[in-house]
C-alpha cells in the first residue's frame, strides 16, 4: 500500500484515494513522427527494477494530477511534485542519487 503526499492539497493520501496515471514524462509524438517513434510513444514503457517515475491523480480528494518518484523494489517513495513540469526537480534527483548511487531511468540520472 502506497501513501503519497499530494503536492496540491497537502494530504498524505492513501493509495485507495488515488488513481494511477501510468509512466511520467512521456513525450508526445504526433502525426509528424516516424512510425517507429509513434509506436514507441504509444506502447513502449519502462519496467524498472528500482527507481521509477509515475503520474498519479488525487481522484477521491482535490482531484489534481501530480508526479511521484518511488522504488519498485522497496516501495520507498522518494518524493512527489507538481504535474506542470517535463522533468523531476533537481533536489529530488539529488535525493535519489544519495539513496541509489548510479541509478538511471530513461535519460534521468
Amino acid at each position: 500500500m502506497l501513501i503519497l503526499h499530494c503536492p496540491y492539497c497537502g494530504v498524505d493520501a492513501d493509495e485507495t484515494e488515488l488513481a494511477p496515471g501510468g509512466e511520467a514524462h512521456l513525450v508526445r509524438r504526433g502525426p509528424e513522427a516516424s512510425e517507429d517513434a509513434f509506436h514507441d510513444y504509444l506502447f513502449v514503457r519502462e519496467n524498472p527494477r528500482g527507481v521509477h517515475f509515475e503520474r498519479w491523480r488525487h481522484a477521491a480528494g482535490c482531484g489534481k494530477w501530480f508526479h511521484a518518484a518511488r522504488c519498485t523494489v522497496t516501495m520507498e517513495v522518494f518524493g512527489t511534485y507538481p504535474a506542470q513540469v517535463t522533468e523531476p526537480p533537481a533536489d529530488l534527483l539529488a535525493a535519489i542519487s544519495a539513496k541509489r548511487p548510479g541509478w538511471r531511468w530513461r535519460d534521468f540520472t
Binding site: 492539497c9 497537502g10 493520501a13 484515494e17 477521491a60 482535490c62 482531484g63 489534481k64
Partner: protein, 190 residues
C-alpha cells in the same frame, strides 16, 4: 412549480450514531483563481463569508463556503436561493476566468450525529479522522467505502457527508451499517 425532493425522502436510521438524509440544499460550484481578489470579493458579495483555508469550510446559518480543490469552492445556501446566488456570482466575476454552476441537484447530503459519529465514519474512509487531525470546520473530500464523498465536521458531534445523488442509497446503507449498535469501536474516548 415542482417541489425539490431528496433521493431518499429524508430517511433516518438510529444506531450508536444517528444517520439522517438532509433536505435538498443549494450547492454552487465555483472554480477560478482562489488567490485572486476577485473570487474573494465575489464570495463575500454573494454570501458575506470569507474564503476557507485548505480543507476547511466557513459558514454562517445556511450559507457555507467549502474548499474543494486549489481552484474550486463549493458554496452552500438554501435550495431556493441557489439560482440567484449563482447568477450574482457570474455577474460579479464577468471578465474574470471562472466557472459558476448551480449543482444543487447533483448531490445528496447526510448528517451523522452522536458522540461516536467520528468512529462510524472512520470505519469507511482512509482520511485521518483522529481528533487531533480532523477538527470542527474541517471539510475533506475523500472516499467512503466504494464511492467518492466529502466529510464536513460541523461540531464535535455533528458531521455532514456529501456524495453524488446516484450513490445516495448506497451511502445511507453504508452509514447505517457503520453506525449499527454492536459495532461501537471505542478507540477515541469521548
Amino acid at each position: 412549480m415542482s417541489e425539490p425532493a431528496s433521493a431518499l425522502g429524508g430517511a433516518v436510521s438510529e444506531g450508536f450514531a444517528r444517520v439522517e438524509e438532509m433536505p435538498p440544499r443549494g450547492m454552487i460550484a465555483l472554480r477560478g483563481d482562489l488567490g485572486s481578489g476577485a473570487v474573494k470579493a465575489a464570495v463575500k458579495d454573494a454570501l458575506s463569508l470569507d474564503l476557507p483555508g485548505t480543507w476547511r469550510a466557513t459558514d454562517a446559518g445556511e450559507a457555507a463556503v467549502c474548499w474543494m480543490a486549489p481552484d474550486e469552492l463549493l458554496l452552500m445556501s438554501s435550495y431556493a436561493q441557489a439560482p440567484e446566488i449563482a447568477r450574482k456570482l457570474g455577474h460579479f466575476l464577468a471578465g474574470e476566468h471562472h466557472l459558476v454552476a448551480d449543482m444543487s441537484d447533483a448531490r445528496s447530503l447526510f448528517r451523522v450525529t452522536g458522540l461516536d459519529a467520528r468512529e462510524a465514519l472512520a470505519k469507511l474512509t482512509p482520511a485521518d479522522l483522529s481528533p487531533g487531525a480532523f477538527t470542527p470546520g474541517t471539510f475533506r473530500r475523500t472516499r467512503l467505502a466504494q464511492v467518492p464523498a466529502a466529510i464536513w465536521m460541523r461540531d464535535d458531534t455533528v458531521f455532514e457527508v456529501l456524495c453524488f445523488r446516484s450513490a445516495a442509497r448506497y451511502m445511507f446503507d453504508l452509514l447505517t451499517e457503520a453506525a449499527a449498535r454492536g459495532g461501537e469501536v471505542g478507540f477515541w474516548p469521548d
